[in-house]
């Protein structure tokens, strides 16, 4: 294959000036692992503080100043949320796996706009740098942004007078611009660069999931950008969009934020849905059951995801009829989600299943996402949510969907494709140990948090009434198990990259039918110079 037109760059130029979708995908994955470790460390500090009643742990980082430690806790919750959402899950699923495999799966040589792909990635290190810097400069009395990832006004305006919030806003602007450009790139790639014969209804489900996801990004992120820009002008230029004293409304910010924020949670999980479909089909040695239903269930989730946002705001004092509408609309989402779960089960039914590591993570995801889904139906009810809102029940619910739904699908995709991406096999025992430690660990962390929430423990508090100490202790023990699991993951990554073994073109056999398995492992620097024909 001749590459004279764009000679293979080497050294730093290959990465910094990269226009190659696979190299950019690799950088996204490395970035996501790095951000995941930082975000995970943040949650470790929080769980360390919450292990026992009283404030005794975070004061070690604040020279014994208890007030600074309380603010530090809020900075940690904010940082953990923003990092995991914008710098771990999105870069891993959309930037990493999306960049690597969407072009290959549709038989395209690269993304539609390779240079824009480059800047989409390189805005992210700048964005996370701004966020990290924000933790070091004045927020309120103490350094850092302690507003939660939602950055509600007026806590983020009059409640945080220092420049830290401005940096966090800029960080979100950059991350948002990065994602919008990525979204445009994926839409153009998927609509225009499919190989001959690859109609929309023959597209692999992972490509479908990314297509729906990037539409959600394109439609919701500009709303966030607008909301945080208004926050910025409220803070610095004397506007009063969210200040009641100047004729504004703090609740307006919440509507704008959640109009973005709710589609955002589907942005985090939909690519995982796509991935799990491939993995379940591959290891069941069976084609996907109900392909069209699967594809359009994701479209339905995407559409309905835009009209349910105010279920995050049941206690702000909304009109009762509005609450009734959002209750009904939210419950509707359970139907397409149920279609996905049952279609996965039907794909496995009658199959000839082998329990490789990617399959274990996919199965874990299916069951744990079901648990997160049923508590979601509970929370959808405005009446019951009065008791649950802002308690640990909500924390348990969204970690079951995100940290077990989204993260398990990331790990499933990781083990499914690491052989393809690196050409080297992952270690069997170490990867299975990683699964079991993570599976047990996250359940021990988050299942008891349902009890804490029902008993009334509020979110985002560094110290709690003594009655909540038992389950908080258990939860922190779960964190330690998960932490060991993460070390095992990193060990597995190290062993994979050092491995002398090589895997063939198709590691998983006949049932892995998508186009990436027709290429070598790792694929050539430029693939499909001659477009494949799809029958």
């Amino acid at each position: 294959m001749s590459d004279q037109a764009h000679a293979n760059p080497t050294g730093w130029r290959r990465w910094v000036l990269s226009t190659n979708h696979k190299d950019i995908g690799t950088m996204y994955l490395i970035f996501a692992i790095f951000a995941g470790i930082v975000g995970g460390a943040f949650s470790g500090l929080m769980r360390g503080e919450l292990m026992e009643p009283g404030i005794a742990y975070l004061t070690m980082f604040t020279n014994g100043d208890v007030d600074a430690a309380k603010h530090f806790f809020n900075v940690l919750t904010t940082g953990h949320g923003l990092i995991m959402v914008f710098f771990m899950v999105m870069p891993a699923l959309i930037g990493g796996f999306g960049n690597w495999f969407v072009p290959i799966m549709i038989g395209a040589p690269d993304m539609a706009f390779p240079r824009m792909n480059n800047i989409s990635f390189w805005l992210l290190p700048a964005a996370i740098l701004l966020l990290v810097l924000s933790t070091m400069i004045e927020g309120s009395t103490y350094p850092g942004v302690g507003t939660g990832w939602t950055v509600y006004a007026p806590l983020a305006t009059s409640g945080h007078t220092g420049p830290a919030v401005d940096l966090a806003i800029f960080s979100l602007h950059l991350a948002g611009a990065s994602s919008i450009m990525g979204a445009i790139n994926f839409i153009c790639t998927i609509f225009n660069m499919r190989a001959p014969g690859m109609t929309l209804h023959k597209m692999p489900l992972f490509v479908w999931s990314v297509l729906v996801t990037v539409f959600l990004l394109l439609l919701s992120l500009p709303v966030l950008a607008g909301a945080i820009t208004m926050l910025l002008t409220d803070r610095n230029f004397g506007t009063h969009f969210f200040d009641a004293a100047g004729g504004g409304d703090p609740i307006l910010y919440q509507h704008l934020f959640w109009f973005f924020g709710h589609p955002e949670v589907y942005i985090l999980i939909l690519p995982g849905f796509g991935l799990v479909s491939h993995i379940v089909s591959t290891f069941s040695r069976k084609p996907i059951f109900g392909y069209l239903g699967m594809a359009y269930a994701m479209v339905a989730i995407g559409v309905v995801g835009f009209i349910v946002w105010a279920h995050h705001m049941y206690t702000v004092g909304m009109d009762v009829d509005t609450k009734a509408y959002f209750t009904a609309a939210t419950m509707v989402i359970a139907v397409p989600t149920g279609i996905k779960i049952f279609s996965w089960l039907a794909t496995m039914w009658g199959g000839s299943i082998t329990f490789e590591t990617p399959m274990l993570f996919a199965l874990g995801m299916i069951f744990l996402f079901t648990l997160g889904g049923v508590t979601g139906v509970v929370l959808a009810n405005g009446g019951v949510d009065t008791a649950m809102h802002d308690t640990y029940y909500v924390v348990a619910h969204f970690h079951y969907t995100m940290s077990m739904g989204a993260l398990f699908s990331i790990f499933a995709g990781w083990y499914y494709w690491i052989g393809k991406m690196s050409g080297k096999p992952y270690p069997q025992f170490i990867s299975k140990l990683h699964f079991w430690l993570t599976f047990i660990g996250v359940n021990v962390i988050f299942f008891p948090q349902h009890f804490l929430g029902l008993a009334g423990m509020p979110r985002r508090i560094p110290d709690y009434p003594d009655a909540y100490s038992l389950w908080n202790y258990v939860s922190t023990v779960g964190y330690m198990i998960t932490g060991v699991g993460t070390l095992v993951f990193l060990l597995g990554l190290f062993l994979t990259l050092r491995s002398k073994e090589r895997v063939g073109d198709n590691q998983w056999g006949e049932s892995a039918t998508t186009l990436e398995w027709t290429l070598s492992s790792p694929p050539p620097f430029h693939q499909f110079n001659e477009l494949p024909k799809i029958k």
Binding site: G146, F289, T315, A346, M348, G351, I353, L371, N381, G382
Partner: protein
């Protein structure tokens, strides 16, 4: 198989959780208990309805989760590569797809009816017997009794030592607190002076955001005398976890006596109307 074991533990948890939904109380102090798995003992009709509706939802949760789990276990045993070396080729079954679309819709419709009943019970405020106003501040609550000359007082968390001395749980006791009569409908008006807070008492089934520049209202009618605790439920800065809410529910006679006492003790507004206007405005800093 250890996967099984994990699932069994999870199920066992769920079952315990259902059967011990509420915790009995003896001493008239209403707060969470260390081994608690479910809601606190309800003290109002609204909370009782929340608990019983949630019990129903929990059965739905358990049935759906166990259904999915048992299908997965059947799949693991019957359709693993050893037990079933030749996979089937089935990719469609319209009937099945219709079933798993319509059955969830029916379940959701069954949920929706009691859900809306509960929502309208909570949100439609009945004729009230008295009004209390709560104002969230960083980081304490201010209460006003507009029915009784608008006397007002601040309610600040006790330190750990003070709480022990006063017999309150750590982080939940306050120096002053509101007192309301038992079996009377209290209308609560909530607002804030700086950032958003949220006024919540789990045993009442009440949680309502205190938003600066906005008056929110809710209500409760407590059926039993005692002391009830709650905590601020919207992140409001450094001491968000340290501005508890404490309500004492007493008989009408005790309440009348308390009002007499409080009117003396907390009377900040005398005949000077200007002071009244000034104090009604949120403090600007």
């Amino acid at each position: 198989m250890s996967l099984n074991k994990i699932f069994n533990v999870v199920t066992a948890f769920l079952v315990t959780f259902l059967t011990s939904g509420t915790v009995a109380l003896a001493d008239g102090i209403y707060k969470a208990k260390p081994d608690q798995l479910g809601f606190m003992e309800p003290a109002t009709q609204v909370m009782r309805d929340i608990v019983s509706f949630h019990d129903g939802l929990l059965i739905m949760c358990i049935v759906v989760s166990l259904f999915v789990l048992s299908l997965m276990l059947i799949i693991f045993f019957r359709f693993n590569a050893k037990a079933n070396p030749t996979p089937s080729k089935t990719t469609h079954h319209t009937g099945l797809e219709i079933v798993w679309t319509t059955i969830p819709i029916i379940i959701l419709l069954v949920i929706a009816i009691p859900s809306f009943k509960l929502l309208y019970l909570q949100d439609v405020i009945p004729e009230s017997d008295l009004t209390v106003k709560a104002i969230g501040n960083q980081w304490y609550w201010t209460y006003e009794y507009p029915d009784h000359d608008d006397f007002s007082f601040d309610s600040i968390m006790l330190t750990d030592e003070e709480a022990v001395a006063a017999g309150h749980p750590r982080l939940l006791g306050t120096d002053t607190h509101i007192v309301v009569p038992v079996n009377k409908t209290v209308r609560l008006i909530v607002t804030a002076s700086d950032v958003i807070h949220s006024w919540a008492i789990p045993a009442f089934g009440v949680k309502i955001d205190a938003v600066p520049g906005k008056l929110n209202e809710t209500w409760f009618n407590v059926e039993r005398e005692g002391i009830y605790y709650g905590q601020c439920s919207e992140l409001c800065g450094k001491d968000h976890g340290f501005m508890p809410i404490m309500v004492e529910v007493v008989s009408q006679e005790k309440y009348d006596a308390w009002i007499e006492m409080a009117r003396e003790e907390y009377a900040t507004i005398e005949k000077d109307n200007l002071t009244r206007v000034a104090s009604a405005l949120p403090a600007q800093q």
